[in-house]
């Protein structure tokens, strides 16, 4: 687990007055959040409380009913305090679906993601070794187990090397060793100044995270 030191991240996340809605159901209202580099946040809440929707809103997939989500570069790094327009510049998203194609070799899939995010192809092999999938590199995606798929998704996250990680139930299919590894990964990312927002049911392994509980707001918006 001694990976070479990567670039130091310095991106902040600010959410102001956010309201999220699915159909006529308000999931979240007046939600404020400020994350500074190096922070780990565990989002908790019952099923259907809007954890995934919140993560998807931050990633820019879901358009919030109200409020603003902004990313900013922290002081002293490159363009100071400049706002970042595209979420894709600074964040990686790990959803509960794993974008793994059944009919393609794992190594090819990771090379594809490396090409897409502009990472060096040399890092693919090294990253696969890091997540413990070297032996599976030449296997087709369809034969991987759920835990192996999650590890492959984590490898993609490492390749992308972006500041903010949005993780939706990252630990659920992982074995004990995988969870310890995930904990170490999160810890290292936070130490490099990254921000981690994870929707979880069990506490995140080995790291101490700030807890954030989404209530069961159950308010119906008048049609």
């Amino acid at each position: 687990m001694t990976a070479p030191a990567r670039s130091q991240h310095a991106v902040g996340l600010q959410i102001k007055g956010l309201a999220l809605q699915r159909g006529f159901r308000r999931l979240v209202t007046d939600f404020d959040l400020t994350c500074t580099p190096g922070e780990i946040l565990a989002l908790q809440g019952p099923n259907g409380s809007g954890k995934t929707t919140l993560l998807r809103a931050i990633a820019g997939f879901h358009i919030p009913a109200a409020g603003r989500i902004t990313f900013s570069r922290a002081q002293g790094v490159g363009s100071e305090g400049a706002e970042i327009e595209e979420p894709g510049e600074v964040l990686s998203f790990l959803g509960h679906q794993d974008p793994i194609k059944a009919g393609e070799k794992l190594i090819d899939q990771l090379r594809f993601w490396a090409d897409l995010c502009g990472a060096s192809r040399v890092r693919v092999g090294e990253t696969l070794a890091r997540v413990g999938l070297t032996k599976q590199a030449d296997l087709q995606g369809g034969v991987l187990s759920a835990g192996q798929r999650k590890r492959a998704a984590l490898a993609r996250l490492l390749l992308e090397d972006r500041a903010i990680w949005l993780l939706d139930e990252p630990a659920s299919p992982l074995d004990q060793e995988g969870r310890t590894f995930l904990g170490a990964l999160l810890d290292q990312h936070a130490k490099q100044g990254g921000i981690i927002l994870a929707a979880v049911h069990d506490p995140l392994p080995t790291v101490t995270a700030r807890l954030l509980t989404l209530g069961t707001l159950e308010t119906r918006v008048p049609a």
Partner: protein, 225 residues
């Protein structure tokens, strides 16, 4: 440089997945070949009848065959979350969609075009015009794939959405088919390769090249929520 690298990666992946296990790249080609093969049975083998409608029939078969492959263009990526990740890449989304369509076209339309000279023989097209006719089919097929991608993007989140996609796309296909078939008819009656209808078809394809990726990207974005 990284932009070109990403686009090439999307394009080659599309080809690789199409030709890989369960990719279905040969679906359109087999549909095309099959529909041409039954033509003499349905229309009668008389050389003069077949020869007259042959070029137009090839266009009809191409149009329907291109519909077959549309359904899976964006659906798989939407279901497994690949689309989410592509939206987070620094490459403009319409460029990604364009690379995807071109990849799909290479994987699916190339085998179809490869069998088209034989198909043309089967429907009694004059051997002298077979190659120019197939060249026109190639140009037209790119247009059909580009336009079809808009419909595929609109119906991406609908299970078994092939019917809806066909309903959306067929009216949009009409101009290409009209000019394509007229160009083929002109060829068959001894006209130029660059006849007026074919130039119109080229213009349509160029317009589709510019607009379809943007429209398809916007449409596919609607499903990511």
């Amino acid at each position: 440089m990284s932009l070109a690298r990403a686009c090439v990666a999307i394009l080659t992946r599309e080809v690789r997945l199409g030709w890989g296990a369960g990719g279905g790249a040969l679906l359109s080609a087999s549909f095309f070949a099959g529909s041409v093969m039954v033509a003499p049975f349905a229309l009668g083998p008389a050389p003069d009848t077949l020869g007259k409608i042959g070029p137009g029939y090839l266009w009809l078969a191409l149009t329907l065959a291109s519909l077959v492959s549309l359904e899976r263009l964006f659906q798989a990526d939407l279901e497994d979350g690949t689309l989410d990740q592509m939206l987070l890449s620094p490459v403009p989304h319409s460029l990604q969609v364009l690379s995807k369509i071109l990849g799909q076209w290479l994987a699916t339309a190339m085998p179809l075009l490869a069998v088209s000279p034989i198909a043309a023989l089967l429907v009694r097209v004059d051997p002298a015009v077979i190659l120019p006719l197939c060249a026109q089919l190639a140009v037209g097929s790119l247009g059909l794939f580009l336009i079809g991608a808009i419909g595929a993007a609109l119906g991406a989140s609908i299970r078994r959405g092939g019917l809806l996609v066909a309903l959306v796309v067929l009216p949009l296909y009409a101009p290409s088919v009209i000019f394509g078939a007229s160009a083929a008819a002109a060829l068959a009656t001894g006209g130029d390769f660059f006849s007026q209808p074919f130039l119109f078809l080229c213009a349509l394809v160029l317009a589709a090249l510019a607009f379809a990726p943007v429209a398809a990207a916007a449409a596919v974005r609607l499903h990511v929520d």
